[in-house]
């Protein structure tokens, strides 16, 4: 490469500085969860574990966690099926309307969340006459999770080609056996990675959820949002935030290990 040593140093410095800035606020949240000052004045007033023990017994936060997990698991399951079907159709066949369909898959995350949110809210309540509940939130989440699975499976299909499947058919296996014994095992880690990222996307979503989850129910982000402006709740919110920062490293790490493809997020 022809770049001078100074250029290299400056750019690597920018990278290091950028990452430091990205992690700094998250570190502050973690440190604040042990800050004895309940208003989180800086520098910390002292060390305490009180907020962590109070958060562990908070029923609202635990109920919200359960709702988040239920919605995430169901939406991920739907997205896995539909995203894989779409990936096979668009990767393995040439047909008219291929481009509009790939645009359609991206649309739910390419359009602002509030638009997707009120469009589905309006469709459920005014048009279909369905009351909002966990079910409607699952439908909404699945809609924007499809693309995550789709992206992961398309990337894998593109890389693996179809030589092995053709070999399997030549050796006399029928289509179903070939899928079960050849195609699926090769796709498995891509599906797992896509599923994890879809779950993470669903778990994090707040705008669409606000408009599609029934009254009286909360997901973790909605719980945080509802408690954010209550001064006496601040320490518990901070602990939940700290837990989420730590927990979010798990799916990313696993997805990265499993997929082997470079960047593979939903909106990426």
């Amino acid at each position: 490469m022809t770049f001078s040593r100074t250029t290299r140093r400056v750019l690597l410095g920018a990278l290091a500085l950028g990452l430091a800035v990205v992690y700094f606020p998250l570190l502050v949240v973690l440190l604040n969860s042990f800050n004895a000052d309940p208003t989180f004045g800086w520098p910390p007033a002292g060390f305490t574990l009180e907020w962590w023990s109070r958060a562990a017994g908070n029923d609202g936060a635990l109920a919200a966690l359960r709702t988040s997990v239920e919605a995430g698991v169901a939406a991920t399951a739907i997205a896995l099926v539909l995203g894989t079907m779409a990936a096979f159709a668009l990767q393995r066949y040439k047909f008219i309307g291929r481009n509009p369909i790939s645009l359609l898959i991206v649309l739910p995350i390419a359009l602002p969340g509030i638009v997707t949110g009120i469009a589905l809210n309006n469709a459920f309540r005014t048009i279909l006459g369905i009351n909002l509940g966990l079910f409607t939130a699952i439908v909404a989440h699945a809609t924007f999770c499809i693309v995550v699975v789709f992206n992961n499976v398309v990337a894998r299909l593109r890389r693996m080609g179809n030589n092995l499947e053709e070999a399997s058919m030549d050796l006399g296996a029928d289509g179903i056996s070939t899928f079960r014994l050849v195609t699926f095992p090769m796709l498995r880690s891509a599906l797992l990675a896509g599923g994890l990222l879809a779950f993470a996307l669903s778990f994090d979503e707040i705008i669409v959820t606000t408009f599609t989850l029934g009254a009286g129910m909360e997901t973790v982000p909605i719980w945080i949002y509802d408690n954010l402006f209550r001064p006496n709740q601040a320490p518990i919110v901070n602990v939940v935030a700290a837990v989420l920062i730590l927990a979010s490293t798990v799916p990313v790490y696993l997805a990265q290990r499993l997929s082997g493809d470079s960047a593979s997020g939903g909106r990426l």
Partner: protein, 296 residues
């Protein structure tokens, strides 16, 4: 594969008949996603657009089905909504530009100056905060920006103060939130860019700056645009960051939200929501030719 022999199992016959009918296979594969996204999602979007032409009964609060352009007229005529639209687009453009300027050098250093192994670790390092909850990150900035928060503490020795809550805080927070959405596509784009092109440019006598503007930037542009789609769209629709750190300034998302909640005026909310959709569709149409959409 030939036709299934006579007397073969039903499963085998089904498999064989599917094998000979690629169109049937394709329509089976497409049926699920198309019913879900094509019918349900596009249907909901279309219905929303139709609702924008309806109105709300002032006394009962119910939606009245009577076609008119009144909502659009209000939106166009009222100076408040014009200001908010301009402000929202301004914030979205600003956030996108800030993110592109910060992300490009970072992505470039990642793609070109580090080993394969380090690259994988760096991708994880960039992706991890992406999945740390949106709300946690907005919240982190709320405590950073607060009156006795870290920023105040950091800036006080140099005689400055943090921006506090307001439009500047919104731009900072949104830029922070969407930065990984810009870094990762640009990194992926630069990673695909062959080093030999950069070397060739150097061999032909171009200096770093010339190589950057004549070779690297044009080839990386689709990746930058791919990233901009998300930073731009996510900023256009956001109302939560505004509520958390934005003080009193409103964006389009807040108008939509307030019209659904407090004002209970779904038709007008729908009308306001068409603004970001139209802007986004125009943007998507404009960048379609650059090939950016294929890399999403």
């Amino acid at each position: 594969m030939t036709n299934a022999p006579p007397g073969a199992s039903p499963r085998r016959r089904l498999s064989a008949s599917l094998h000979h009918r690629p169109r049937v296979r394709l329509s089976l594969l497409l049926s699920g996603p198309l019913i879900w996204l094509g019918l349900a999602y596009l249907g909901a979007l279309a219905a929303l657009f139709v609702t924008a032409f309806w109105s709300t009964d002032v006394f009962t609060g119910r939606v009245v089905v009577s076609w008119s352009l009144d909502n659009f007229a209000t939106l166009a005529r009222d100076a408040v909504y014009r200001t908010i639209t301009v402000r929202t687009v301004g914030v979205a453009v600003l956030v996108t530009v800030i993110d592109a300027v910060i992300a490009f050098p970072m992505a470039f250093a990642m793609a070109k100056f580090t080993s394969r192994r380090t690259q994988r670790l760096l991708v994880i390092a960039v992706m991890t905060p992406l999945w740390a909850s949106y709300l946690v990150k907005a919240y982190a900035w709320r405590s950073m920006l607060s009156g006795n928060g870290v920023l105040h503490w950091l800036l006080a020795p140099v005689g400055l103060d943090g921006p506090g809550y307001g439009l500047t805080a919104t731009v900072i927070t949104l830029s922070y939130l969407w930065l990984p959405y810009m870094i990762l596509p640009i990194y992926a784009g630069l990673d695909r860019l062959p080093d030999s092109l950069v070397d060739a440019s150097g061999d032909l006598g171009a200096r770093s700056v010339r190589t950057f503007f004549s070779v690297v930037l044009p080839l990386a542009m689709p990746a930058v645009i791919a990233g901009s789609i998300f930073t731009f769209s996510l900023s256009l629709g956001d109302y939560i960051a505004v509520k958390i750190v934005g003080g009193t300034s409103q964006l389009l998302g807040n108008v939509v939200y307030d019209n659904i909640g407090a004002a209970n005026n779904l038709p007008f909310a729908a009308t306001v929501a068409t603004v970001p959709v139209v802007i986004m569709l125009l943007y998507l149409a404009a960048v379609r030719r650059t090939g950016a959409l294929d890399t999403l």
